[in-house]
């Protein structure tokens, strides 16, 4: 009897360990996260508008009918990322998702110095080097430091009604994600 109790107790301790191990491993092996789903349809430094009709049902699309979105994966391994865009959408915002699909940074159009979109995404090391001599091309840019070299930028634009859809689509498709300064 005592040995059965012993075995059950041992099993329960084991169950706790298995519970924790599975919990930690689920995010690592998930194939459903944003990164896995979007890196299949968009290559690095390429802006793709999130549209199920074009990209397939597996692509996450904003459920909000007044929001259009576009995504641009990046890889800071070879240098910084320079993002530019212009347009007159009433509101836009941007999030950076890391390789696990977690939202690590977000910004809205209020943070821009001018009317246009002008961002530089870089790693802390690249930021240190950038501080020594900021190139003239980046004078008005907003600098964003991220700790993961790979990730994706997701832009959202507000579409108040159908007459604005063309403006929002032009804005999103006109966003240029380009490798900035090489290391």
């Amino acid at each position: 009897m005592l040995r059965i109790l012993h075995a059950v107790l041992l099993g329960l301790v084991g169950a706790a360990i298995v519970h924790i191990v599975i919990l930690v491993l689920v995010p690592r092996y998930s194939t459903e996260d944003v990164w896995t789903r979007l890196s299949a349809v968009a290559r690095p430094f390429e802006t793709v508008r999130l549209e199920r009709a074009v990209l397939g049902a597996d692509v996450p699309e904003p459920a909000n009918p007044f929001i259009e979105a576009a995504v641009c994966p990046f890889d800071l391994g070879d240098g910084t990322l320079h993002v530019r865009g212009s347009g007159a959408v009433p509101f836009w915002s941007m999030s950076i998702y890391d390789r696990n699909g977690l939202n690590v940074f977000s910004i809205s159009d209020r943070a821009m110095a001018g009317k246009d979109l002008d961002l530089v995404v870089l790693t802390p090391e690249q930021m240190l080097r950038m501080r020594r001599a900021v190139p003239a091309a980046f004078r008005d840019s907003v600098f964003i430091e991220v700790d993961s070299a790979e990730g994706l930028l997701l832009f959202r634009a507000f579409v108040p009604d159908e007459t604005w859809r063309g403006v929002a689509e032009t804005f999103l498709e006109g966003i240029r994600c380009a490798p900035g300064q090489a290391d």
Binding site: R3, I4, H6, A7, V8, L10, G11, L12, V13, G14, A15, A16, I17, V18, H19, V21, I22, L23, V24, V26, P27, S30, E32, D33, V34, R37, P60, P62, A63, N64, P65, F66, I67, A69, P90, F91, S93, M94, S95, I96, Y97, N100, G101, L102, N103, V104, F105, S106, I107, S108, R110, A111, L154, R156, F158, P160, D161
Partner: protein, 194 residues
């Protein structure tokens, strides 16, 4: 000998079966952790961020999605009215009350899965703050109904359960301290189709 084998097997079954089943239960059945509630509305501001607890993170990894960042906004969902009754697409509701400061907000009617309801002819089942008619004191009231209503009408289509999704964009309400004591509009049921 046989007894030892049985005991080892028993331990293993409890460990692996129990461990896996308990994780599955926590992720599928238990309510998510980290909710911010304001009347009938619920939001998960830490969902899909690095601050999320391991359970929310595992749940998020299984479901995917593109959650709004803190500087972008916050999404509140209501599945029940202010009296605690489940929302239904064949009922009429009145949404009225204070709205937190935000650049803009959107409100749409969704199915239980979170997808937008199909439009009623050319009428979207959604509204936003630019399209709202306001009273002289800057307040507003929205009628959520399958039947046309004067003023601000949020059309409903189909039958079955309903979710109302309220998104505040560019709002100070996204930081943790503010989100706790937030007051959002009340949802009052005014009638139902028999």
């Amino acid at each position: 000998m046989l007894k030892t084998v049985f005991l080892v097997l028993l331990s293993l079954v409890i460990a692996i079966g129990g461990g896996a089943a308990s994780v599955w239960l926590m992720l599928e059945e238990a309510p998510p952790i980290g909710a911010v509630r304001a009347g009938p509305w619920t939001a998960y501001p830490s969902m899909g961020t690095r601050e999320a607890d391991p359970y929310s993170r595992a749940r998020f990894a299984r479901e995917g999605g593109i959650p709004l960042g803190r500087s972008e906004g916050i999404v509140f969902t209501a599945m029940r009215d202010s009296a605690g009754q489940s929302l239904s697409r064949s009922c009429t509701y009145r949404i009225e009350g204070p709205m937190p400061v935000a650049r803009l907000w959107t409100l749409y009617a969704a199915a239980p899965g979170g997808a937008l309801l199909p439009p009623l002819h050319r009428r979207q089942t959604a509204l936003h703050s630019w399209r709202i008619l306001r009273t002289p004191d800057n307040g507003f009231a929205i009628t959520v109904s399958p039947h046309p209503a004067p003023g601000n009408w949020l059309a409903l289509t189909g039958t079955g359960e309903l979710r109302l999704v309220l998104t505040l964009f560019d709002t100070p309400a996204t930081n943790g301290a503010e989100a706790q004591g937030l007051s959002l509009p009340e949802i009052t049921r005014t009638g139902c189709d028999a």
